[in-house]
């Protein structure tokens, strides 16, 4: 699988309260959540994001609450991949469980700026900055997680592996 899009670049410690503020958690409707994605950090995000765009951020992306609404809002708004130097652990888990592609690569994060166009080839773990021509690699997921992602998330995996 390959994705390509323009980059929204953020700093460290982007927390789930700015990804989707709690005042909107009285619903679990993905479209409604997506319409407020990143609102308290970047008020122009929803208006300027297009299908396939990427988020690139520094350390500890998704810290804070366990709300799965956060990766769900990011996925539904059209983001094809989040690349960060590191992820907070519950966000990391939730993203994998719901099938939002995420990659850890400090090297890529260092070389990618806001507005750059980036291609990601998931099968090779390759990240290509089309704007600068530089390319980077990310750590491949362990086989267990790859298998879960291939089955489109946790629920299908458990259905087939545990309940059968």
């Amino acid at each position: 699988m390959r994705v390509k899009g323009k980059v929204f670049r953020y700093a460290s410690n982007v927390d789930t309260d700015v990804i989707i503020p709690a005042r909107y958690l009285n619903t679990s409707d993905p479209q409604e959540l997506a319409s407020h994605c990143m609102e308290d950090l970047d008020a122009t995000f929803v208006a300027s994001v297009t299908q396939g765009d990427l988020i690139v951020a520094d350390e500890n992306f998704g810290c804070g609450s366990s709300r799965e609404h956060a990766p769900l809002a990011i996925k539904t708004v059209g983001i094809s991949c989040v690349i960060a130097s590191s992820f907070a652990r519950i966000f990391y888990r939730n993203a994998i469980n719901i099938g939002l592609p995420i990659l850890e690569s400090a090297e890529a994060v260092k070389g990618i700026k806001h507005g750059d166009v980036v291609t990601v080839d998931f099968s090779k773990g390759a990240i290509i900055n089309e704007t600068t021509g530089e390319s980077y690699t990310s750590e491949p997921f362990p086989p267990f997680i790859q298998e879960m992602m291939e089955r489109d998330g946790l629920i299908n995996y458990l259905k087939e592996e545990v309940l059968q």
């Binding site: 410690n13 927390d15 309260d17 700015v18 503020p21 709690a22 005042r23 958690l25 009285n26 619903t27 679990s28 308290d40 950090l41 350390e59 500890n60 810290c63 804070g64 609450s65 366990s66 709300r67 799965e68 609404h69 990766p71 769900l72 590191s86 907070a88 652990r89 519950i90 888990r93 939730n94 469980n97 719901i98 362990p142 267990f144 997680i145 998330g153 946790l154 629920i155 458990l158 259905k159 545990v162 309940l163």
Partner: protein
Amino acid sequence: MSMTMSQKILAAHANVDEVRAGQLIMANLDLVLGNDITAPVAINEFAKFGIDEVFDNSKIALVPDHFTPNKDIKAAQQCKQMRQFAHAKGIEHYFEIGAMGIEHALLPEQGLVNAGDLIIGADSHTCTYGALGAFSTGVGSSDMAGGMATGKAWFKVPGALQFNLTGRLGPWVSGKDLILHIIGMIGVDGALYKSMEFTGEGVASLNIDDRFTICNMAIEAGAKNGIFEVDAVALEYLQAHNTKEPKIYSRDKGAHYEARYEIDLSTIRPTVAFPHLPSNTRVIDEVGNIEIDQVVIGSCTNGRISDLRIAAKILQGKRVNPRVRTIIFPATQKIYLQALDEGLLKIFVEAGAVVSTPTCGPCLGGHMGILAEGERAVATTNRNFVGRMGHPASEVYLASPAVAAASALSGFIANPETIKES
């Protein structure tokens, strides 16, 4: 191979003799928790399994505590969905308004947490139960759905940091100050993916409520879980609340810790986390003159009886600053009643504070004390991110109940040591 306390609990629940850091395991769960925000998403995911029954209706807890009593129509719809699911599946531990308390204070009090348990909750502060020697960790709604369907969850076995405590805390200094000090020292990702294990002779001097507060905020350092060695204090609590035999897992001699921190409790000062990260800490002596508009005392972090007693001791016979809206939330109905019996609620009301029914409410900017643009609050809660308690241009300063109560009287962030008892 030597294992940490957390690793031993995981190994036991994966039915293997040993696990090592980084290993991926599938483990059996003792309890699966959800609330009115996370459970509706999990219930929708659960439907995708195409099964009628949950794995065990006595091992699921559903607590409508976040936007309750229902703050608006949408919140009411979410609670209705959770209530109907609980009734349809015969969930034993569903807590309706009137029995409901803030989940992480409620579950231990109801005897649903035992030493040695493996617990997941669709709430990041599920790590609280490490105070009783359980491995408990926050997950998302899909994991909660998977847990409800199968009784299992996947885990990457964490490495660990050891916090070896000596000495004892000074007057007006609490577990909250200690955990804020630690987060300030190691950062909001200082324990990322890891366990925080608290050991040493200093542990004995920390009461159980302090330990709940400390484990509660392990997530604010990025940790997977926080856990204390089970001692007489923990056993006394367990015996008073739980009928099951505790399973005590001690760390092996030679267990590997990626770092070991020595902390002399007597050196900890009242500590405040400034906006907008829990790691942005300053000791009370260095906070300067910060005027405030609101004080919140409560939450899963600091809404327990010892917290209320400390606040009452400071507020007794005094009036809060007329500029400061002071809102106090006992965390459960039992704590509420205990505070009533002890005369604490009278002290609060006479001091000009309001006392609320248990709810997570303002901690996450839900209801019952939202901040306007430019307003500042001192709160005994756990997060001070941008917009956490309301307007994106408002500010939250995290502190202990003692600092919060002293600040309510003063109108600015205040040192409880300077307040004269009356």
